[in-house]
Every structure is written in C-alpha cells, then in structure tokens.
C-alpha cells in the first residue's frame, strides 16, 4: 500500500469478505483485557485453576466474538492450554462460571461440549494411528444409532445414517485433500496431515465452534499455507475459531482478534495489527518491568537475598 492511498479505499462493487465483516463488528471493541464483544459466543467470569498453589489460570472476564478467528497467545506457562482444557471440558476449574451460546456450561464434560457444538483439536495429535483414516473420520460422528446394542442387530435402523456419515467423511477428506489417504492407517500420516485429519474429524460433528490447540506445531512449512487456508475457511463457513499459537506470523496472518495471556491472566486484547505494540504484551514476553534492577550490586549484600526468600516463604505459606 503506497503512502498516498486514502486510508479507507471505497470498494463499492463487491460484498465484504467474512474477514471484513468481522473486522467491522470488532472495530469499536475497546482494546482492554476482558472487553465486551458485540456478539459473544463464550462469556467467562472468574475462571480459576490452580496447580500446587500456583494460579495456572485466573481469568476475570473474557468474551469471544461469534464468527471470528480469535488467537490466544502468550509466553510459555501463560495458561493458554489450561484455559483451553477448561473451556472444552477436558479439565475442571476450581472456580468460575462461563457460558457457551448463552448456556451455562462450566463443569460439562468434553463429550457434552462436543454435543453442544464446541469441538477441539490437540497440540499433539490424537489420531487413532492403528485405524484407517476413513474410520478415524467415521468415529468422529456423534449420535450413531448403531451404538445401541439392540439396534446394532437391525441394520435397517442405522444403514441410512451410516451412509450419510460416510458421505460426509468422504466430502471432508476431499476438502482437506486427504481423500487419497482414506484407506491408509492414520499412523502413516505426516505430522501436518494428522493435523488436517484432526480438523476434518472435528468437523464431522457439524460444530459451531472449533478450538485448535497449536495447529501449526510440528507442521511441515509446505503444509502451513494450506492449513492456514483451511482455518480461514472455517470462519468463512460461519464457524467460530479460537486457537492457541506460538507462531506470531500465523497469528498476524489469519486472526481477527488476539487475546494475550501471561501468568494465567488476560493481560491484553486487540486486533493483530496493533496488539504487539501493547506494553503489557512486550512485558509478558520479555519479563515484566519491575522496579528493582537485579543487576544492582547492592542486592548482593548479606541480608537482601534472605529478605526475598522470607517474602517468598510468607507468600507460599498463605496458599
């Protein structure tokens, strides 16, 4: 974009892309942690999870916009995956309430969340490696009538449904360019193909919200572009996406909104173009600005370190 281009070029002859629609919806959202969204699909309050006295997650308020791709970023140990596990029902919170599509869902197990339309993938893929790719897909479908012991004996009760499931599985495999691998064992797929399989399998349930835990981790760069395209495709099809990611380039490239966590809390929110300039984000990644400079030689005096220790012990005793 050259310097003399007007800031908002008028494009009258086309309808806005899904990305532009979302950007417009989020334009007036304040850039503060816990900012209210115009159309939230998730609203969380006071969510806390502690491990051995340390607050892994301590989120006061968080809203996730419907139909948007929201990135959850933060340094190692910020609590991103833990929050993910809580929201998707893979872990239990010590405190807090949250709603999904307006329904109170805290404490609901993962299978129930999937039933309500929220599915997730994992950082380390959980494809069933000794089953064929197509069978991995078919397993993803929910509410299969043949699961009932007696119904299983009466094929005419479930055959039509099973055919529909198979058709859906074939369609998704084609969409994710895995159709050539349908009869291979899932264990023979590359890391990136497994990510695609996980995403495709998640879609078998017709979810409204897809949660992706580090979708780019361990993916061959050659597959990155197509994976990014698929994630954007989820939004363009009307799904809401929340993903955890370390790769800033990817965050910048596809997300509509970025939530930054550090030490269990949400420390900043905003659009990807400006979020990196937020001082709280710089602090989160580089370590916070403290008043004391630990390079100061005065701190090496006999008692000073002991004072730190005493303070730490007092802190630990209250937990």
């Amino acid at each position: 974009m050259s310097a003399d281009t007007p800031p908002t070029p008028a494009v009258p002859d086309r309808s806005p892309t899904p990305r532009e629609v979302v950007a417009r919806a989020l334009a007036d959202v304040p850039r503060t942690p816990g900012a209210p969204k115009p159309d939230p699909i998730i609203v969380a309050d006071g969510v806390r999870r502690t491990f051995g006295g340390i607050n892994a997650v301590d989120v006061e308020h968080l809203e996730v916009q419907r139909g948007a791709i929201t990135a959850l970023i933060g340094p190692n140990g910020a609590g991103k995956t833990t929050l993910f596990n809580l929201l998707t029902g893979f872990d239990r919170a010590d405190a807090g309430t949250w709603t999904f599509e307006g329904r109170s869902v805290q404490g609901k197990p993962a299978a129930r969340m999937a039933g309500l339309g929220m599915v997730r993938t994992f950082q380390l893929t959980k494809a069933l490696s000794r089953m064929r790719v197509i069978d991995n897909m078919r397993l993803g479908a929910t509410g299969q009538r043949g699961e009932n012991l007696f119904a299983a004996l009466l094929p005419w009760l479930w055959r039509a449904q099973e055919d529909a499931i198979s058709a859906r599985a074939d369609e998704l495999l084609t969409r994710f360019k895995l159709d050539g691998k349908a009869d291979d064992f899932a264990g023979s797929l590359s890391g990136g193909q497994r990510k695609l399989l996980e995403m495709a399998r998640a879609l078998m349930t017709h979810p409204t919200m897809v949660m992706l835990d580090e979708p780019m981790a361990g993916v061959n760069p050659a597959l990155t572009q197509s994976l990014l395209g698929h994630i954007q495709g989820l939004r363009d099809d009307g799904m809401t996406v929340l993903f955890v990611e370390h790769d800033m380039h990817m965050v910048r490239h596809i997300s509509d909104w970025v939530v930054v966590m550090a030490e269990g809390r949400v420390v900043a929110e905003g659009p990807p173009e400006t979020i990196m300039q937020d001082q709280a984000v710089v602090d989160a990644y580089l370590g916070a600005h403290h008043d004391t400079d630990l390079g100061d030689d005065a701190l090496l005096e006999e008692d000073v370190v002991e004072q730190y220790e005493a303070e730490a012990e007092a802190e630990e005793a209250t937990k």
């Binding site: 380039h249 490239h253 173009e273 300039q277 004391t292 630990l294 390079g295 730190y308 303070e311 730490a312």
Partner: protein, 266 residues
C-alpha cells in the same frame, strides 16, 4: 534472518582463552532433525552468560548438548583446553561441570541433606566441606537439612537443585531456566542467588525465558533463533535493542506491510 560474521558472534567477550568454547554445534533429538544449526558460545572464567530467545530457539537444547545429554552431530566443545564433545554427563561432572535441569531436579523422597549427598557421590569425603560452602550461599537449606525435598515448594526445590549441582565444586555451572514455574519473588531470589554463586567464583551459563531479568544479571548474552546465533553482546545493550524485542514478538514492520499488500491484492 540476520547474518552474523565471526567477529561479532561473541561480541563483548573478554580477551584471552575461554573456559568453555562451543564451536559450530549441530545437534538434535530425532535422526535427521537438527535443533541446533551451527551454534557458537564461549564462556570466559568468572563470566555469567545468558542464553535467551523465543520458544523453540534451541536454548535448552544447547545447554543439554554442552552437558552430553543431546548428541552433538557436528562441531566441538572444549573445556579448559580439553575436547569434551559428546562426553558422558557423569564424566563432565567429574571434570567440573555442574548442570541444573529445569524440572524433576530433586529426589522428592530424600531429605535436603541426602539430596546434597547425591550431588557429591563421586567424592563423598568432601561432603562436609562442600556442605558448608553451599549452605553459606543457601542458609535455609542448612537449617532444614532433615526435611524431605518432596515437601518443599517449587522455589525451594530449585534452590536444592542448584545447591546439589554446586556440591562437586564445579568451575562451570549450567542452569536451565531456573525461574520456570516460580512466583515473581521466587524468580528474583533465584536470579540473585545465581549472581551470588557467580560472585563466589563459579562461571555460569544460564538459559532463561525471562529475558529481561536474565539480561539484567548477566555479563553477556546470546540470543538464539531457530538454532542459530541471532545476536549477542553485553546484557544491558541487548535489553534495549529493538531487534531483540522484534525477534520475540515477530512484529516485523515488513510483515505488517506485506499483509496490507496481500489484502489490497486479494
């Protein structure tokens, strides 16, 4: 990606022969996958040197490679004039290299004193003398010597692990993220203890995620990116270097511009 010339790979390093000299290291966990792609590091006597960098840069891998825990495929490590590339960890301990792993670094069912004894099992006669030295740096450990390590907080365990590594009187101490998982006050304590150990004459290489704190306490630091040396220099200089911040946040102006370009094109 920046290209570094040999002269500024060790920018700010003192004159003379380094105590530890790692040259052009290639190493990794899986066959054919290198995590380190030509890393260099020198540690001069008495120095406190930091290794920082974004997630997955190879910081901990470099430290483990120095300590013989990750096979080095190419390159060399020299300690005090002797080649120690790929030597076994127990041999390195005997040669005066101490290592503090990031996690699972104490024996929880043993007492503090027993943990420290484990640190000097190769030379048990010196236990009393060394115990006095480390409890001088970590007085609380002496007072609570009979307490089981499993009952300690994360911060206290970290102190036990550091103390145990000091039992063999190392000339080089390798610390892998001593602040990981600790409360802010405990982190600061760990950093100050690290400085005290350094002042007591131990040369230290410290890998840290808390870059700002690490740069405050160390004499020099190496910034790694994708298994290579990206920048290096005195801690104070790196702390204020916009290139370092950029590396962490990936907020390259060019990136933003390119995306804007994509948007107008698409």
């Amino acid at each position: 990606m920046t290209t570094t010339t040999v002269s500024d790979v060790h920018r700010g390093a003192p004159e003379g022969t380094p105590l530890l000299d790692a040259t052009d290291l290639y190493a990794g966990y899986l066959p054919g996958v290198d995590i380190l792609n030509g890393c260099n590091l020198v540690l001069h006597p008495g120095e406190l040197v930091g290794i920082i960098g974004p997630n997955g840069a190879g910081k901990s891998t470099l430290l483990k490679a120095l300590f013989g825990l990750v096979p080095i495929r190419q390159g060399s490590v020299v300690l005090g004039g002797d080649e120690i590339t790929n030597q076994r960890a127990d041999k390195l301990v005997r040669r005066g290299v101490g290592f503090v792993p990031q996690t699972n670094n104490v024996f929880p069912s043993l007492t503090i004193e027993e943990n420290l004894r484990m640190g000097i099992f190769q030379d048990p006669k010196r236990f009393a003398e060394r115990f006095e030295f480390v409890t001088d740096i970590f007085p609380a450990l002496g007072e609570r010597r009979r307490q089981r390590a499993g009952s300690l907080s994360g911060g206290e365990r970290q102190m036990v692990a550091m103390a145990r590594a000091l039992m063999m009187d190392p000339s080089v101490l390798l610390l892998d993220e001593p602040s990981a998982g600790l409360s802010p006050v405990r982190q600061d304590e760990a950093f100050l203890r690290t400085r005290k150990i350094n002042k007591a004459g131990v040369s230290i290489v410290i890998v840290e995620q808390n870059a700002r704190r690490c740069l405050q306490i160390c004499d020099r630091a190496y910034v790694l990116d994708q298994g290579r040396n990206a920048y290096s220099g005195p801690g104070r200089e790196l702390m204020n270097d916009p290139k370092v911040i950029e590396l962490y946040l990936g907020t390259l102006a060019a990136d933003v511009e390119a995306a804007a370009h994509d948007d107008t094109q698409g």
